[in-house]
C-alpha cells in the first residue's frame, strides 16, 4: 500500500506541481531577465549621459587648455622698463557700416586705465594702438590699416623707415628708406620709439622684399605683419608707469600734461612722428617680447600676405 501510494499519490502530486514549478521558474526567469534588461537599458542610458557629459567636459577642458596656452604666450611679453602690461580679450573685429578702418574691439576701457594711443601687442609683436575708448571697451587701430604709420628701425642694420599698412591680409610697406641704407630680407623691424607712443624695440614686422622701383630716391621695401588679425583672441596692453612705478594713473585724463599725454592727444591715425628721441632701455636688451623659442620664428607660421594692388 505504501508503495502504491508512492506510485500514485506522489507521482500525481509531482505531475501536478512540476509544471507549475516549471511555469513559475520560467515566469520568474523571464521577469528577472526583463528587470535585468530594464536595468541594463537604464544603465546604458546613464552611461550614455555620462559619456556625453564627459565629452562636453573634455571639449571644454581642451578649449581651456588652448586658452591657457594663448594666455601663457601673452604673459611672455616682457614690458619694457617703465611700462606695465595688462591683458585684454578681443570681443569683435570691425563692426557696423561706419567701421572704415581695420580695427578690433577690446573688453577693456577707460575704467581699466586705458588712454588713446595705448600700445597693443600680441605674443609675436605690435598689433596696433587704442583709437577710441568707452568706459569698458576700446577700439584698436591695427598696424595693417592703410592709415597706420609707425617709425621703425631694422633690428640688425638699424636702418630707419616708416612702416605703413596696406589693408587686411596685405603686405605692409616701409617708406623713406634711403637708397644706400642696408636692409636684408627676413630682418625684423622694431619700433624706434620716435613717435612717443610705442616703447622702443618692439617687433612689428618682418622684411620680405627690398628693391628699387623707378627713379625714386628711396628703396621699395615690403614687410609682413607678425600676427594674423583673424586668429587673434587675446592681446596685451602696455601702459607707462607713473613715477611711483605702481602702474598707470587712471585718474590722470589724457592731455592733462606731459609729453605722453600730448602724444595721447594727437590723432592716432594721422599723427606725425616727433623728433624727440626716447632714451634706450637701461637694461641693454631690446624690450618687449621674450626671445623667440627655438624653432619658432615670430610670424613664420603665417601665410605670406599679398601685396597691395596684386
Amino acid at each position: 500500500m505504501d508503495a502504491l501510494a508512492s506510485y500514485t499519490g506522489l507521482e500525481f502530486a509531482k505531475w501536478v506541481l512540476a509544471p507549475g514549478k516549471w511555469a513559475a521558474l520560467r515566469v520568474s526567469s523571464f521577469w528577472d531577465r526583463y528587470v535585468y534588461f530594464v536595468g541594463l537599458r537604464e544603465e546604458n542610458d546613464s552611461l550614455r549621459a555620462t559619456l556625453a557629459e564627459a565629452s562636453q567636459e573634455l571639449a571644454l577642458l581642451r578649449e581651456r587648455a588652448a586658452e591657457a596656452e594663448r594666455l601663457a604666450r601673452i604673459l611672455t611679453i616682457r614690458p619694457p622698463v617703465g611700462w606695465s602690461r595688462q591683458g585684454a580679450r578681443i570681443v569683435s573685429h570691425r563692426l557696423g557700416p561706419n567701421a572704415a578702418l581695420e580695427t578690433v574691439l577690446l573688453d577693456k576701457g577707460i575704467l581699466d586705465g586705458l588712454k588713446v594711443n595705448t600700445p597693443v601687442t600680441g605674443p609675436d609683436g605690435v598689433i596696433g594702438r587704442i583709437l577710441r575708448l568707452s568706459p569698458t571697451a576700446a577700439t584698436v587701430l591695427l598696424v595693417t590699416d592703410p592709415n597706420s604709420r609707425i617709425p621703425v628701425t631694422s633690428q640688425k642694420n638699424r636702418t630707419q623707415g616708416i612702416l605703413k599698412g596696406e589693408g587686411a591680409n596685405r603686405e605692409m610697406v616701409v617708406q623713406y628708406v634711403s637708397l644706400g641704407a642696408p636692409l636684408e630680407e627676413g630682418e625684423l623691424l622694431v619700433t624706434s620709439g620716435l613717435e612717443e607712443i610705442f616703447p622702443k624695440g618692439l617687433p612689428v614686422a618682418r622684411v620680405t622684399e627690398v628693391g628699387r622701383k623707378g627713379p625714386s630716391l628711396f628703396q621699395t621695401v615690403y614687410a609682413e605683419p607678425l600676427f594674423d588679425a583673424r586668429r587673434l583672441e587675446e592681446v596685451a596692453l602696455l601702459a607707462k608707469l607713473t613715477e611711483e612705478g605702481h602702474g598707470p594713473d587712471p585718474a590722470v585724463p589724457s592731455g592733462a600734461g606731459g609729453n605722453q599725454d600730448q602724444a595721447a592727444e594727437m590723432d592716432p591715425v594721422s599723427h606725425s612722428p616727433s623728433t624727440k628721441v626716447v632714451p634706450p632701455d637701461p637694461s641693454g636688451r631690446a624690450p618687449g617680447l621674450e626671445p623667440p623659442r627655438p624653432g619658432v620664428t615670430p610670424g613664420a607660421e603665417r601665410k605670406k600676405p599679398p601685396r597691395s594692388g596684386q
Binding site: 563692426l95 561706419n98 567701421a99 572704415a100 580695427t103 574691439l105 592709415n147
Partner: protein, 156 residues
C-alpha cells in the same frame, strides 16, 4: 508699444549687432528702421533710430555725423520713395537697398577725404554690394516675423 513689440525690437537690435560683427561694413539695423517707420508710431521710430544711431557711431571709426547722414538719407529716401511706390513693396525695398549700397560708397569716400584717410576702394565696393543685397532680404524677413507676432492686429 506692446510687450511682444518691445521683445521683438530688443531681439532685433541684439541680432543686428551680432550680424554686424559677422559681416563688417553692413548695416543690419537699417531694414528695422524702415519697418519701424512702416509699422510703429513715429515716436518709436525716433527712439529706436536714435539708439541705433549711437550704436553705429560708437562702434564705427569714422567721425561723428556719418551715422546721422546715413540714417537721415535713409529716412529721406523712404519718405521720398513712398510717394512714388507702394511703401511695403519688395521692389521699393530693393531700390532702397541699391540706394543704400551707393550711399555707403559715397559716404565712406566723402568722410575719408574729409578726415584725410585712405580706405581700400575694393573693400568699400564689396560692402556696398552686400548692403544692397542684404537690405531687401532682411526687410522681407523681419516684415514677415513682425506680422506674425501674437499681439499684432494685422497678424497673418
Amino acid at each position: 508699444m506692446n510687450v511682444s513689440a518691445i521683445v521683438f525690437w530688443s531681439l532685433f537690435t541684439l541680432t543686428g549687432i551680432w550680424l554686424q560683427g559677422l559681416i563688417p561694413g553692413v548695416d543690419f539695423l537699417a531694414p528695422g528702421l524702415i519697418l519701424c517707420l512702416q509699422e510703429e508710431k513715429w515716436t518709436v521710430s525716433a527712439w529706436l533710430g536714435l539708439a541705433w544711431l549711437f550704436i553705429q557711431e560708437g562702434t564705427g571709426s569714422l567721425a561723428f555725423g556719418t551715422g546721422l547722414l546715413w540714417y537721415g538719407a535713409l529716412v529721406g529716401l523712404y519718405y521720398f520713395g513712398h510717394w512714388l511706390f507702394e511703401a511695403k513693396n519688395f521692389l521699393f525695398m530693393f531700390i532702397l537697398g541699391l540706394c543704400l549700397g551707393v550711399l555707403h560708397l559715397i559716404l565712406s569716400h566723402m568722410m575719408a577725404v574729409l578726415q584725410d584717410w585712405t580706405l581700400p576702394a575694393d573693400r568699400i565696393l564689396v560692402e556696398g554690394l552686400l548692403q544692397a543685397l542684404i537690405f531687401p532680404v532682411e526687410w522681407g524677413l523681419v516684415y514677415l516675423i513682425y506680422n506674425h507676432l501674437p499681439d499684432n492686429p494685422h497678424a497673418v
